[in-house]
Structures are given as structure tokens and as C-alpha cells.
């Protein structure tokens, strides 16, 4: 098109002085958490400008979704944010159910099981974020502890769905299977086991003076910048705003559950620094445990499994929503996950699907908050954003 005016990228590269160096971090670098490439203009150890390059893991989700039925796309949503597959498919399924108008007919037991597995998955996802963040900063032990505890979650979800990472468990109108017999008890045991482990993790890492020195006052993200860049989830909450779509939109079983929304308070430095983002995830794990306990309580009592309960009883045979546009947003562990559907009302295949991935927005702010910092701090900032390239590139 109009090639006469150079793009901002071309101006930045052309404007680098001879004393400055252009350094590529990634795409194959352990601390970029996947195939993310950062082009960094540096002056010695000082970062002048960061230019993120994404797309190395683009797998054409939106193109696939235009050629598959709604049920067939569920496994593809699992593969977007592969650390939180349950949350991804939950959002997709809710969107389709609302378009069909059957979202109010879903049995309570199914809604509670969905919330239970989503929150388990949220804990698993946050554990990876916390553990790998420790590694980025130079602490190896928390990583092993987090993976040890996440293994219990993986085993439980495998027991329920049949696979460890990509579950295809939540279906439109129901579930793949009911929970296996004894799942609720096993899950309660896990909660009891896991609570003291979180205390240990806090003692080892969160309150560790070396860790605080590396993360407090680093990568401060002011609230107005966060909102302008569309940051959401723990990123936005760490900047001091109590904004959680589970409360705002009151979807699924969340209106009946009690939990708080943690937000950054700047306890160790400034509001919105790397330590706050880390702490918000720690606090969210605690809140997720609260939600899980309430879910288990109800699943053991008034929503107990009955012999005639069939989680597939209400699966629609044919999914053809009437012609409409619909945007659904839900809170994934990384933030606002949205699906925008356009349907024509005639076929079982959507006309257009757009996925709004939280990591996509969260990483776009990185060049804004990493000017004039040290390269080592840049690694601390990338880790604190907690990106999953699978959903960033879709």
C-alpha cells in the first residue's frame, strides 16, 4: 500500500545510533516462555526500546473455526491456552450455549463441575506461572515444588477427562463424562494437602528478600496504561483495579460462590510492579481453593450424583444458532478471554470467529513499560506477564 511513510518499526531500527546494539532475545530462548522474539535496542546494559515479534506459533485457529462445527472446534480451543484448556473450552461452550438460548437449562451439577475443573485448572496454570517465574529470577526450587503440586491436579483432571493437558471435557450442553466416583473426596484431600504447601512457597519465594529485590519497583504498569493497552486478568488487577469478569458478568455458577478479588497493593514497592503481579497470582490460588471447597461441598450434598444423572442428556443434536453476532468474554487465568461469533442461522458452521486472547494484549504493553531498564529486569518483566504463546499466536 502506501510505502512512502516508514512504519514506526522501520523508524526505530533506522534511528538506532552506532553506539547502540540491536539484540534478538528469542524466539528460542528459555526465558521468553515459548517462541516469542524480542528485538531489543540496547545501550550497554540499558534497554532503549523493545519490539516484540509474535506469530511463530500461529496455527490458524480462526480459519479452522470457519470450517468446523461448534463441537469440533472445542479441541482447538483447548490448544490455544494449553495451560488452561478447561477455561478456554468453558468460554467457548458458554458462548455457543447463549447463542442457542440454552444456557439457563444447564443442570446445576454440570455448572458446578465445570467451575470445579476450571478452578483446578486455574491453580495449575498459576503454579506454572509462579514456578517458571522463579526460574527466570534464578530460584530453581520453587519450580520443582510447583510442578510437584501441579502433578496432583493433572492426575485428577486426567482421571475425570482421560487426558492430562488438553481435555475436551466441557461440551455444548453438558460434559464428556460425569466426575468419576470418589473424585470429590480425592479433591478434598488435595485441598488439605495443598494449603500448607502454599505457605511453604510463600516463605521460600514470595517473602524472600532476594526475590523482592529483583521484582519490587520493577516494570511498574500504571493503571491507565494497562486499560489503554487492554491488559486484563492478574496484569490489570495488580495495577490496583478489582476487575474480575467472574464477578462483573456473573456467569455460570460464580454468582452463588463466595470469593474475593485480589488486587495489587504495592506492599513491597509500587502498585503494579512485578512483585504485585506475582502476589496477585498467589492470592488468586487461595481464592480458587475457596471456590473449590464450596463446589465440593455442594457436589457432595444437594448436588450429589444420582444413578440416572447423565451429563450428556441435554447435548443438542444439531447446533445451528439463529443469525446473530455475539461476543462472549470470560475470565481465564491470564485475563479476559473473548470469542466473537458471527452466525448466518443456516449452517452448523460459524461464518466468522475471532478469539480475543488475553496474552496478546498483555504482551503488547511490554515496550511501554521496559524503556530505560536493565536487560535482567526485562527478563523479570516478561516472566511477570505470564504469556502463553499458544493463545497469543492462536
Amino acid at each position: 500500500m502506501n510505502n512512502s511513510t516508514p512504519t514506526r518499526y522501520e523508524q526505530l531500527i533506522a534511528g538506532a545510533r552506532s553506539t547502540e546494539m540491536i539484540l534478538n532475545i528469542g524466539p528460542q530462548h528459555p526465558s521468553t516462555h515459548g517462541v516469542l522474539r524480542l528485538e531489543v535496542i540496547t545501550d550497554g546494559e540499558i534497554v532503549k526500546e523493545v519490539i516484540p515479534h509474535v506469530g511463530y506459533l500461529h496455527r490458524c485457529f480462526e480459519k479452522h473455526a470457519e470450517n468446523l462445527t461448534y463441537q469440533q472446534t472445542i479441541p482447538f480451543t483447548d490448544r490455544m491456552d494449553y495451560l488452561a484448556s478447561m477455561n478456554n473450552s468453558h468460554a467457548w461452550v458458554m458462548g455457543v450455549e447463549r447463542m442457542l438460548g440454552i444456557d439457563k437449562d444447564i443442570p446445576k451439577r454440570i455448572e458446578y463441575i465445570r467451575v470445579l475443573v476450571c478452578e483446578l485448572n486455574r491453580i495449575g496454570s498459576h503454579l506454572i506461572a509462579l514456578g517458571t517465574y522463579g526460574i527466570d529470577i534464578g530460584a530453581f526450587t520453587p519450580f520443582l515444588w510447583c510442578f510437584r503440586d501441579r502433578e496432583h491436579i493433572m492426575n485428577m483432571l486426567e482421571w475425570a477427562s482421560g487426558s492430562r493437558l488438553l481435555y475436551n471435557y466441557i461440551w455444548v450442553g453438558g460434559l464428556f463424562y460425569d466426575l468419576p466416583v470418589g473424585f470429590e473426596e480425592r479433591c478434598s484431600e488435595f485441598v488439605d494437602y495443598f494449603k500448607p504447601k502454599m505457605k511453604e512457597l510463600n516463605e521460600l519465594l514470595t517473602e524472600n528478600q532476594i526475590f523482592i529485590s529483583r521484582t519490587a519497583n520493577v516494570g511498574v504498569l500504571p493503571l491507565d496504561v494497562a486499560i489503554s493497552y487492554g491488559c486484563s486478568g492478574p496484569m490489570l488487577r495488580a495495577s490496583g483495579l478489582k476487575w474480575d469478569l467472574r464477578r462483573v458478568d456473573e456467569y455460570s455458577a460464580y454468582p452463588e460462590l463466595e470469593f474475593d478479588i485480589p488486587s495489587g497493593k504495592g506492599e513491597m514497592g509500587t502498585i503494579g510492579d512485578c512483585w504485585d503481579r506475582f502476589k496477585v497470582r498467589i492470592d488468586e490460588i487461595e481464592q480458587s481453593l475457596r471456590i473449590i471447597e464450596q463446589c465440593l461441598d455442594r457436589l457432595k450434598k444437594d448436588l450429589k450424583r444420582t444413578p440416572d444423572f447423565d451429563p450428556r442428556a441435554r447435548l443438542p443434536k444439531k447446533i445451528t444458532p439463529k443469525a446473530q453476532d455475539f461476543y462472549l468474554r470470560a475470565e481465564s487465568p491470564r485475563g479476559e478471554l473473548g470469542y466473537y461469533f458471527i452466525t448466518d442461522g443456516k449452517t452448523e458452521i460459524p461464518k466468522r470467529v475471532k478469539a480475543r486472547a488475553p496474552s496478546f494484549h498483555n504482551i503488547s504493553v511490554i515496550s511501554e513499560i521496559s524503556r530505560g531498564i536493565l536487560i535482567a529486569d526485562l527478563i523479570a518483566i516478561i516472566g511477570s506477564i505470564d504469556i502463553v504463546l499458544g493463545e497469543l499466536d492462536r
Binding site: R8, V54, W243, Y327, R352
Partner: protein, 165 residues
């Protein structure tokens, strides 16, 4: 502010011709805005304290099909203080000739979110955004041919000697 009030606000501010139509049949009502005015409308909706749409949730480029030859952009706005949502749409006819691209004003100076989203719409649908500071491909390689989410897209046979179709 409810949907009819937002409509009145825009009509009072920019005149009746700014709204080309509305869609109220679905679960989420949408306003179809005159394409040239979209940046001004977005600025007003963001800055006006009664609407305060400070968060751009999603921006999607759309190809409405080969028969219609219509391209569009959909803006999903959210207001954090008011906890409301709004959908805006713009659309333009384009005959799909390769020498020009359907062109819309950029909103990247209203919300920074739109920067990468507009790059994505350019990358996958070949929409041009006037005034965008950094309109490059984002997900696909810089030398990729064609725009994959267009309904008439044919994938190239070879890419750097690698067979792709």
C-alpha cells in the same frame, strides 16, 4: 447509559447521518457507524463521562462474503466504571481488486489495544487503516502472499521452496 441514549448522544453530537443503521435483534445490540467518522465516535464514547468506554475488548475484521463484496470492522467496547458493553460496526464495499485495500480510519490513537488488533486485521483480512503508525503483518511472515481470512483466499503453492498446499 442505555443503548438508545448512546444513540441519541451520537446523533446530537455528530448529526443523524453518522449512524447508518442498527441491529437490535440479537442478544447484543450494535450500531452501524459511518466509516469515516468511526475514530471521532470512538474518541467521544471514550471521553464522555456518561459512556466512558475506556476498554476496547476486541476489534475484528470481517469479510462478509463473496457475493456481497463487503468488508467491515467490529469494535467490542467495554466500560469499566459503568460495567456496560457496546458493539460498533463499520462496513465498506470493496470489489476485491488487488491494487487497493478496503480502508478504514485507525482507532489506535484512542485505545492502544487497537494497534495490534488492526495489524492483525491487516494481516489476515487485508484491511488498511489510515493513520496507523505501524501497519505491518503481525502473525504471518512479512513476505506471505494473500490474506487468509478472506473468503476468496487461495493459499500459495510454495513458500520459500516449501510446499504449503
Amino acid at each position: 447509559m442505555k443503548f438508545p441514549e448512546i444513540k441519541d448522544l451520537l446523533v446530537n453530537k455528530f448529526g443523524a447521518e453518522v449512524i447508518e443503521g442498527e441491529e437490535t435483534s440479537g442478544r447484543q445490540p450494535a450500531l452501524i457507524i459511518k466509516a469515516d467518522k468511526i475514530a471521532d465516535v470512538c474518541q467521544e464514547l471514550r471521553d464522555n463521562e456518561n459512556t466512558w468506554f475506556d476498554f476496547l475488548s476486541c476489534l475484528s475484521g470481517i469479510d462478509y462474503g463473496i457475493e456481497e463484496n463487503m468488508f467491515g470492522v467490529v469494535y467490542n467496547l467495554a466500560s469499566i466504571p459503568h460495567k456496560t458493553q457496546l458493539t460498533l460496526k463499520v462496513r465498506k464495499y470493496h470489489d476485491r481488486n488487488a491494487s487497493t485495500l478496503p480502508s478504514f480510519p485507525t482507532v489506535s490513537n484512542v485505545w492502544k489495544t487497537a494497534d495490534w488488533h488492526e495489524r492483525e486485521a491487516y494481516d489476515l483480512l487485508g484491511l488498511h487503516f489510515e493513520g496507523h503508525p505501524d501497519l505491518r503483518r503481525i502473525l504471518l511472515p512479512d513476505d506471505w502472499e494473500g490474506y487468509p481470512l478472506r473468503k476468496d483466499y487461495k493459499v500459495q503453492e510454495y513458500y520459500h521452496g516449501i510446499k504449503v498446499s
